[in-house]
Amino acid sequence: MSAISRAEVSSTSPPLRRRRRGNPTYLLMALPAVVLFFVFHTYPAIQGILYSFTNFKGYGDFDFVGLRNYLQIFQDERVLAAYRFTFGFAVLATVLVNVIALTVAIGLNSNIRFRNLLRAVYFLPNILSVLIVGFIFNYLFANLVPQIGQALGVAGLSKNILGDPGLAWTGILFVAVWQAAAFNIILYLAGLQTIPYDLYESADIDGAGPWQKFRNITFPMIAAFFTINMVLAMKGFLQVFDQIVALTGGGPGTSTESVSLLIYKGGFDGGQFAYQSANAVIFLIVLVVVSLAQTRFLQRREVEA
């Protein structure tokens, strides 16, 4: 009964869409989340920015010091080294992960046996804890790799590479790529499945080779996925933390110290709360600029393709 009378009312009253404009229920649904998000995310971020202009150690009194922290950071060799390491690592890891993931995804998307089993195996690393994967590889780098290196007579691998300031980064790179490729493989696979098979058939008729098909069909068709994967990977790798804690702890010395690790170490244990807050603000700006520049650049490629 009530349903009918409501229907009648609504036919004479303004359209539903306009009546809903003032519906306070929606506001009520969103409000608690907005408040909590502000309190636990935005407010700490603002605080971090404010602290960056002080000499706060994490405890006790503090004064505002203006831009002093920022000026110091640009002359701090340890900070600059962390940025150099982080960027070198992130660029290499992003490129490697995407090359490997795209190659494997094309393989997994082709006509193969045991397709589901292979897909399941290749995604496995993504469900494992980064920290524990790091610990497992730490053991392998300390014990297995030197054995293989000696057997093959490769001097560089005959010792624990994680103990060599010049080589430790390769171990971190290897583990990070080993694990991160899994997620990107699945995303590329999703992209490859959107390509209609007819395109390849007509390319076959035109006599195109595998490389031509990849260049002219596959890659342009998954350009959007390429953009997503590059941006996500870069953003993730710039914030590298767990792998480094598990493998080197930033060492030997500070040779594998990433920006995130430096902010953590200096901020909590080094009495550099304000100083590392300034570093974090710079890190924020760097991340935003890199992500936006990457998106711009890659999306322009998409259009051309």
Binding site: R21, A33, Q47, V104, I132, I136, L238, A280
Partner: protein, 276 residues
């Protein structure tokens, strides 16, 4: 797309199997090492254990106080997944259905823009804040995961909700359903594929995350499993057989879930990341 009529490529299959070995081999070595005696570990990396030392697992359980940490991790993960599904979808619904209004459009941008904010910038202040408010415990952790998941989850939920025709809700509204009823009885069930995606990704995140517990949890009694492995590694770094037994027990729950539901998990992850 399946290439009908063509024979499966043996060469690609073999190459992919070889590649898969690089994934399985380290895990195999982890299992083998966890079952050795310390002498066997020291003697050779490759050699199989002469007898399976299951005591390593019970010893690791004792040393790490495994079950306490397991309960904490399970409590945090289950709570985070449930609360995330129930609350984040609701917020996304309110935003998705009001994107024609400036207020909600700005809210959407507010949440999405936070995707770009690196954790280190909030890490230091939020630790002070949670400890001052007595939230340096699993409950605080649950809070933070649910709140920090909002950005990404709103992004994927809003994209999905927009694809649900409004007519369904208008019919319910005409029948006298309130907005709340419409959400819980009609929209929430329709969100199932996206709920699965968000649930899986949130579960993996809450179970495996290390940095947030590391900075938030101060009392070792409240340590989550990854945190326990970290402390344990520092104390017993040379007892690899015990360490690996402990690592495997930490990895096991997610691996078991994955083996049971892997197809579903892979398609879920694909959906969440692509359709958003």
């Amino acid at each position: 797309m399946n290439e009908a009529g063509k024979r499966p490529s043996t060469l690609i299959t073999v190459l992919l199997f070889l590649g898969a070995l690089s994934i399985l081999f380290p895990l195999y070595l982890a299992v083998v090492t966890a079952l050795k005696t310390p002498q066997e570990v020291a003697a050779s990396v490759f050699a199989l254990p002469t007898s399976l030392r299951w005591e390593n697992f019970s010893e690791a359980i004792r040393l790490t106080n495994f079950f306490t940490a397991f309960r904490t991790s399970a409590f945090v993960t289950v709570s985070v997944v449930l609360l995330t599904l129930l609350t984040n979808s609701l917020v996304a619904y309110a935003i998705a259905r009001n994107q024609d209004k400036p207020l909600f459009r700005y809210l959407y941008y507010y949440f999405i823009s936070a995707l770009f904010i690196p954790f280190p910038i909030i890490m230091l202040p939020v630790v002070k804040q949670t400890s001052a408010w007595g939230m340096d415990n699993p409950v605080g952790l649950i809070f933070l995961y649910v709140v920090y998941g909002l950005s990404f989850n709103i992004f994927v939920y809003v994209g999905y909700i927009k694809s649900i025709p409004r007519e369904i809700e208008e019919a319910a509204l005409i029948d006298g359903a309130t907005t709340w009823q419409t959400f819980w009885k009609i929209i929430f069930p329709l969100l199932s594929p996206m709920n699965a995606t968000v649930g899986i990704l949130t579960c993996l995140w809450a179970w495996n995350d290390f940095l947030l517990p590391l900075v938030i949890i101060s009392d070792p009694e409240f340590a989550t499993l990854p945190l326990v492995q970290y402390i344990f590694q520092g104390q017993f770094s040379t007892q690899y057989n015990l360490a690996f037994a402990s690592y495997l027990m930490t990895l096991a729950p997610m691996v078991i879930v994955y083996l049971l539901a892997q197809r579903w998990i892979i398609s879920g992850v694909t959906q969440g990341s692509v359709k958003g």
